[in-house]
């Protein structure tokens, strides 16, 4: 215990040196902690992303086989034809264990009749003129609006009236966007009229709810692009009615909610056994999770590099400081040796001094670590979002272009893949999660930091202690 008291006396007597040591150590600890905080924040962001998107499966037409068929066809004008999903097939999956609920999505488009669609300057009436087969109103037919990903992630919010539920099946109830409602002076309870894109039929829809979308991006791109406010939600049965009688009891996609994220893969396996795999694909709906995950993995690997670089540099710096300190204190070491103190206890005293410095430094780092971590994390994430947005947009566009539907009023509405496919909704969800990198100092972080600091101090003291082990007291004391 004696060497501990000496350590304390030495630190308190040489205040300038102690303050300097504390400053250097604090700086090192601050960066190590910031790196660790960013790492764990990235972990949390990944886990949250997994939680929020991990528990769904989407059943859709198998485009790959449809694509092959199209290539084989000898027709002069090959057409991509995918079979719509038969609801009876979807129900087979719905009845599997651990499937909590499911949401049917059927999309189409119509033209506004009793009101005007919102036209944006970059909007629908492009230079090529509007294709006759696409309407200005996108119809997203669903079972339940609350289970649509854009409502789940709160891109869309019901502001008046109510959303659609399974009770709205076989009704002409609809939920429209607030901008559209405002422009055309439509309120809940009103009836609006739309006509089919071929112009032959008129439908009356009863507005039961109004939602507000925060999606600024035009959901659909390419020809027939229309303002997001022109999307109306109806029951899937209505969408099927518009599409034509042969679409009764079908869907463009069906999203299954699995009771727990951990059950998703087993449900997927079981589901694939009850459906025809050449017609359908059953996919986990984790594109936004994958986006977050890869972005966060980059953030994490950078954070780890910070931790290791600072740790290595810190060990070298501290070792040099301790080496200099030991040179400066040769005399004191000599006196201790002449009194018969063991060399290891002298090294122990130096180590103890460094540990005391470390404790103070960790306290300082703990106070400052959050703000440094916040700043550094924001910097990293903004770089990450920029690069991941670029990589994500490419496959996103492709999926939009490929989502043509057989005949009928396809083109425009198709991209609104109710269940939240890898569309822009997924991307925006992912990037909002990225900016929310939540840097927090936990007890575990501090314990980890302490362990790291101890290792750094131990290594640097050991590197420097060679000088103590070689020191000849005679040379130091008698001159």
């Amino acid at each position: 215990m004696n060497f501990l008291k000496r350590a304390w006396l030495s630190l308190t007597a040489k205040k300038g040196r102690s303050v300097l040591l504390i400053l250097v150590t604090s700086a090192i600890m601050l960066f190590v902690l910031a790196g660790m905080l960013i790492h764990s924040a990235a972990d949390t962001a990944t886990t949250n992303a997994k939680k929020s998107v991990g528990a769904t499966l989407t059943l859709s037409a198998n485009r790959e086989t449809a694509f092959k068929k199209m290539k084989k066809s000898s027709s002069s004008k090959p057409k991509l034809t995918t079979t719509p999903i038969k609801l009876s097939d979807a129900k087979k999956i719905a009845s599997l264990k651990n499937v909590a609920s499911y949401n049917v999505t059927a999309t189409t488009s119509v033209n506004a009749k009793s009101f005007d669609a919102i036209s944006t300057s970059t909007g629908s009436a492009g230079p090529g003129g509007q294709s006759s087969s696409s309407g200005d109103i996108a119809v997203t037919g669903v079972t339940n609006t609350s289970q649509v990903s854009s409502f789940e992630d709160e891109t869309n919010k019901i502001t008046k009236g109510r959303g659609l539920t399974s009770a709205d099946k076989n009704t002409n109830n609809t939920v429209i966007e607030s901008e559209l409602a405002k422009q055309d002076n439509i309120s809940v309870g009103d009836t609006i009229k739309v006509k089919s894109t071929s112009g032959s039929k008129t439908y009356s829809l009863k507005v039961v709810g109004i939602y507000k979308t925060s999606s600024s991006s035009t959901i659909q791109q390419g020809p027939g692009a229309t303002d997001p406010a022109n999307t109306i939600y109806t029951s899937y049965t209505f969408a099927n009615t518009v599409k034509g009688s042969k679409y009764a009891n079908t869907a463009d996609s069906v999203t299954f909610n699995v009771s727990a994220p951990s059950k998703v893969s087993s449900v997927k396996k079981a589901g694939n056994q009850v459906i025809n795999n050449s017609k359908y694909t059953l996919a986990t709906n984790d594109s936004s999770y994958q986006t977050v995950k890869s972005a966060m993995n980059n953030v994490k690997s950078f954070a780890d590099k910070i931790v290791w670089l600072v740790a290595i540099a810190g060990t070298i710096i501290l070792a040099l400081i301790v080496i200099l300190m030991i040179r400066e204190r040769r005399h004191e070491i000599g006196v201790l040796l002449s009194l018969g103190e063991s060399r290891w206890k002298i090294i122990g005293q130096f180590f103890a001094e460094m540990v005391i410095v470390l404790i103070v430094a960790i306290g300082i780092a703990g106070i400052g670590g959050k703000s440094v971590g916040d700043r550094l994390g924001d910097q990293l994430v903004s770089q990450q979002s920029a690069s991941s947005a670029a990589t994500i947009s490419a496959p996103g566009d492709k999926s939009v272009q490929m989502s043509g539907k057989p005949g009928g009023p396809s083109g425009s509405g198709s991209a609104v893949q109710g269940g939240g496919g890898p569309s822009s909704a997924g991307t925006s969800g992912a990037s909002s999660q990225q900016t929310d990198l939540n840097v927090n100092v936990s007890v575990l972080n501090m314990v980890e930091l302490g362990g790291f600091g101890l290792a750094i101090m131990f290594l640097s003291t050991m590197i420097a202690s060679g000088g103590i082990l070689r020191l000849q007291p005679k040379k130091v004391l008698i001159d």
Binding site: N2, R6, L9, L339, L477
Partner: protein
């Protein structure tokens, strides 16, 4: 109590030995002065006795036991106490903490006894406030008295000193000589002092001269 047996030492080559086959005996309760010309090897001899270096040939025995067998670290801790010309105190401590540290490092039977340390410092003329200020604020004579007090509070029965009065004026020198005599006669320890001052040599009970590689009684 301390015996050198055919003790020899050289730095580079054997033919340049500082001293050869030295056989001396030092008794407890006696003080010894070692004199000789500058460069004759007095300090070197003392460092061997103090366990700070190892002989090139021969051995040193404490109460019949080779100090190499005791282990030099252990020997320095338990058996020998050193006073240097340049005091060699812990510069970041007060006189009191210097004593307490030495007592606990050497595991003295008075270890931890603050009052005993204070009494000793008071006996050597330090005031209460001087005991508690940093040692570097004391005069050379006061610092050397702290160094001597350090040997007095430790249990080691052998006290060696290299030019302990080298930095002191006449008055302080006389006081320091008195203190060493007290250590020998009142504490019953064996005191060996290297000095070039004849006053110091004369005050000691015995004196040896190191000349032409040999020790001779004066």
């Amino acid at each position: 109590m301390l015996k050198t047996k055919d003790l020899s030492y050289w730095y580079d080559q054997k033919k340049n030995s500082l001293f050869e086959n030295v056989n001396l005996e030092f008794e407890a309760g006696q003080s010894y002065a070692i004199v000789g010309q500058s460069g004759s090897g007095k300090t070197t001899f003392l460092s061997l006795i103090a366990g700070l270096d190892k002989p090139k040939a021969g051995s040193i025995e404490l109460d019949g036991k080779d100090i190499n067998k005791i282990g030099l670290t252990n020997y320095r801790k338990k058996d020998v106490s050193i006073v240097f010309q340049s005091y060699n105190l812990f510069t970041y401590m007060s006189p009191l903490n210097n004593l307490l540290t030495a007592m606990s490092v050497t595991e003295s039977r008075h270890a931890g006894d603050k009052e005993y340390a204070q009494q000793m410092l008071a006996k050597l003329g330090l005031t209460d406030s001087q005991m508690k200020t940093n040692v570097q604020q004391l005069s050379g004579g006061q610092q050397q008295r702290v160094a001597i007090a350090r040997t007095m509070v430790c249990d080691a029965n052998l006290v060696v000193a290299d030019e302990p009065t080298g930095n002191l004026d006449e008055d302080n020198t006389t006081e320091v000589i008195d203190l060493f005599q007290q250590i020998a006669h009142e504490q019953g320890k064996c005191v060996i002092i290297v000095t070039h001052e004849s006053a110091v040599a004369q005050a000691c009970d015995n004196a040896y001269r190191l000349e032409k590689h040999e020790f001779s009684a004066v």
